[in-house]
Symmetry: C2
Subunit: 223 residues, 2 copies
């Protein structure tokens, strides 16, 4: 028996994992970055094969990890979590550094970052776990706290996008609301379907934002 709610008890941070170079860089929102050894310091990043960044990590043999803070703007989740680098230059207009590996390091909303050179990889089906040896680690912000996936879910009301290792088909979760309506973001078209959410739209906090584009709650209309 598998109770999907147990999945939410596993803790994660939220990161932008990037690769490529100045001309062909891309990144995606990840919650699966982990240190796997201390001597030498090695980190694992689990990446969906459909992510454009996955191919870049294979091609360039390196990845960077920017640690997102709790105050990260909703825009960053829309840009790096819900759009594809295949048809959109996610780095345009962003604050990006190029250091030891030459791969882009996203500095917007970042508390600190790591740079790793890939030393091995494990194919786990839909995803690849890249193991990288750490070559650079820096701190950018000492006041904000790292954003956890729990914080993102509870406070920001965000959910994992389809390519995430932790994606859950929302229709499989127990639905606790009965009469439901559908609300649409007038900014980006994102649909808030109460039948697939645990919280009625009117019960969302006033400062709730569209998880895709960051528009305000009041920018949604009933459809």
């Amino acid at each position: 028996m598998i109770n999907l709610e147990a999945f939410f008890k596993i803790s994660y941070g939220l990161y932008i994992v990037s690769s490529g170079d100045k001309d062909h860089g891309n990144g995606y929102i990840s919650n699966t970055v982990f240190q796997v050894t201390s001597e030498p310091a090695q980190f694992a990043a689990c990446c969906n094969k459909n992510n454009y960044t996955c191919g870049l990590i294979e091609q360039y043999g390196c990845f960077t990890v920017s640690v997102l803070g709790e105050s990260a703007s909703p825009d960053i989740f829309g840009r790096f979590g819900y759009r594809s680098g295949k048809d959109f230059n996610k780095l345009e207009g962003m604050n990006v550094a190029y250091e030891t590996t030459g791969a882009p390091v996203i500095l917007n909303d970042s508390l600190g970052y790591l740079e790793c050179r890939v030393v091995q990889k494990t194919d786990v089906g839909s995803h690849i776990i890249f193991i990288g040896e750490l070559v650079n680690a820096q701190i950018c912000n000492v006041t904000d706290e790292p954003m956890t996936y729990a914080y993102y879910r509870k406070i920001r009301k965000g959910l994992s996008p389809k390519n995430a290792p932790t994606y859950i088909d929302k229709t499989k979760l127990e639905v606790r609301v009965t009469e439901t309506s559908i609300y649409k973001c007038t900014a980006c078209g994102h649909i808030y379907d109460e039948s697939k959410e645990k919280v009625k739209f009117k019960d969302l906090p006033d400062d709730w934002k569209c998880p895709v584009c960051g528009a305000d709650k009041e920018d949604f209309i009933k459809v």
Copy 2:
């Protein structure tokens, strides 16, 4: 350049990872358990080769993960984090379930648990990353919050034991306190107050252990 403080920006939960069976079971405190794919649901657990449990996972081909809550007792960290199953039966007197895999599931202080069958493993040097396909997932406690490593460090003032992927040589960290004669066990919180003892902490023998939980002398920090 590597700033070790950046390592603390990566978020983790805290778990007891166990394996074996009713007669030969063991578990250890882990902070590196993460979901790697959703279809099928697979989880990774990164285990030091020196851990007694590591050999059991290889032998039995399965592992269980108990998610520790914020209210977990300090004893559980002493028992599962700082003692070895090679010379101590960690499961004696504990509340243990044996379900789908037959491996022990520690229920004490657990919010929920997962059972996985190992489908592949990756040798990353000092550690092995076991990839397991989920066969059972349950919730035990819906009120307590999952304990994160950040919470353990900040609120409980705990540090990683030597076999953890995130172990940091404490002498490498900047010491921010000046002079004091009180030492605290990072495993269970026990205080060694030199003003109430006959022996200065530094003069205690190297094999001295915490009288409460059995942690090593080096696991104490000056407070």
